[in-house]
Symmetry: D2
Subunit: 153 residues, 4 copies
């Protein structure tokens, strides 16, 4: 089985793929009731995804240079607390294994000052070939390779 052999070779032993990044709240991201506007979290999640990409070699540009884009098809956000000007948030981005031709991430965003969980979210992306502009029903070769490398489904 790909996953197990891969896990043995890279010795990740089931440890989830995850990145953590700090993002300072911008003044312009706070709305008129002095909390971060709910839409701004979409950017923090993008920061988290890109940080994950840098750590594991799955940046936007890697996908693009392999001939694909990865449009968002599903995004769910649950807001638990608010953050404001001067706050810093910690974005945790976790890879969610799937057999489908998709990239699924889970996010937890924390307020740095007291470590309160302020948001949980998930995103699902699919693959489109740049040349043909059509949805890929199977994982692109580069992504299969990526999964093998990290021992994940």
């Amino acid at each position: 089985m790909k996953r197990n052999s891969s896990r043995l070779s890279v010795d990740y032993s089931g440890e989830p793929l995850m990145s953590r990044i700090e993002v300072k709240v911008r003044f312009s991201e706070v709305d008129s009731i002095r909390v971060v506007w709910h839409g701004s979290y979409v950017r923090y999640m993008e920061d988290g995804r890109e940080d994950f990409g840098e750590k594991y070699g799955l940046e936007y540009m890697t996908i693009f240079n392999n001939g694909y884009t990865a449009p968002m098809v599903d995004m769910n956000l649950r807001y638990l607390q608010s953050v404001t000007v001067g706050d810093t948030v910690i974005v945790e981005t976790r890879y969610v294994p799937t057999k489908a031709a998709k990239i699924i991430f889970e996010y937890s965003i924390f307020r740095k000052s007291d470590n309160a969980l302020v948001l949980t979210a998930t995103t699902t992306q699919v693959f489109m070939s740049k040349s043909e502009g059509i949805l890929e029903l199977n994982n692109p070769p580069f992504y299969e390779e990526w999964k093998k490398r990290w021992g994940v489904e």
Copy 2:
């Protein structure tokens, strides 16, 4: 029963509360793969919600002037098609009845040129009193009044 008596008086007969607004895609909302960035739809949904508010008297300022804010607690977006520079989208915002102390909306966003459905979404907001900054477990009086007026739960 509140709802029925109200429905009789305003004669809405179960017709859903719904607004439609056109929004022209901004150049700055389109990303580097020449489609509207997935986060930009959060703004279109806000435009839809505010348009609904103007039509039915539930604007952000109405809520605010009654002593409340209505923070987002849940947001789900499903992307079906993409739109690009020069496109106009039509945002349909529908009120979803609930007995909970929440405001729930459903959205359908269409590409105007060919009427293709490009996004469906839901949002859930709760009420916070401005003075105390705490979550309201029951509907604020002004919102109960609003529901009666429009004959909805």
Copy 3:
């Protein structure tokens, strides 16, 4: 002289090229001191420029389809008053004649409720050919044609 003959033929008699568009302030464009964030005006100016483009045939897509982009090289904004949630602004965009290979616009933004002037601004764009990615020192043919058509320098 191009300009005069053109002015005669289209009979614009020196009247400036100008468009006016209304833009409703978005909740997300207002910052934590409850006024429109200074950066949001850049979007209103873009709305004005695109409205001008639609009126006179100089949209972003027209420029693009002629093989060029028109990157911003200079932008100056002067803020006179503030606007807030619920306000609508009126964006006036005026073409500024120049012999240089540039597109120069002047903007006046008014608060609709009392017609107060809230911002004046200017922008300067140059032409880049898409294929070569280099600055054009002379006006592209389509733009020379456009100037003739409207009788402007």
Copy 4:
């Protein structure tokens, strides 16, 4: 003279007040011609200003907690080069001494990869008292104190 005595005490000897911060370009800040949208630089400048504020004790919240806001009244940007997805920019923010009741900053933004200067800009802010909502014609006491502390006009 305030400035000199202050300069002696903090021993800054005329060295300009300046901060440098790195900002990673976000995917969502890049527009459809694959360069950073001209309006996104306004956010980078805000990042620079806030970084300056942290270094020298002039953050947005410091101003706010002293009873003032500092609205933008003038902003000028000159674009020299472009940056794209994957780039990091370096924002240099310099304090510009003035006797007027204003805060003036100069900015230089560099592309990190090759140190190319991509933008120069200036901003001017004034002081408004939160309680009265009126323009301050003289420097607020806290700002006079701040100037003394750093030995600047």
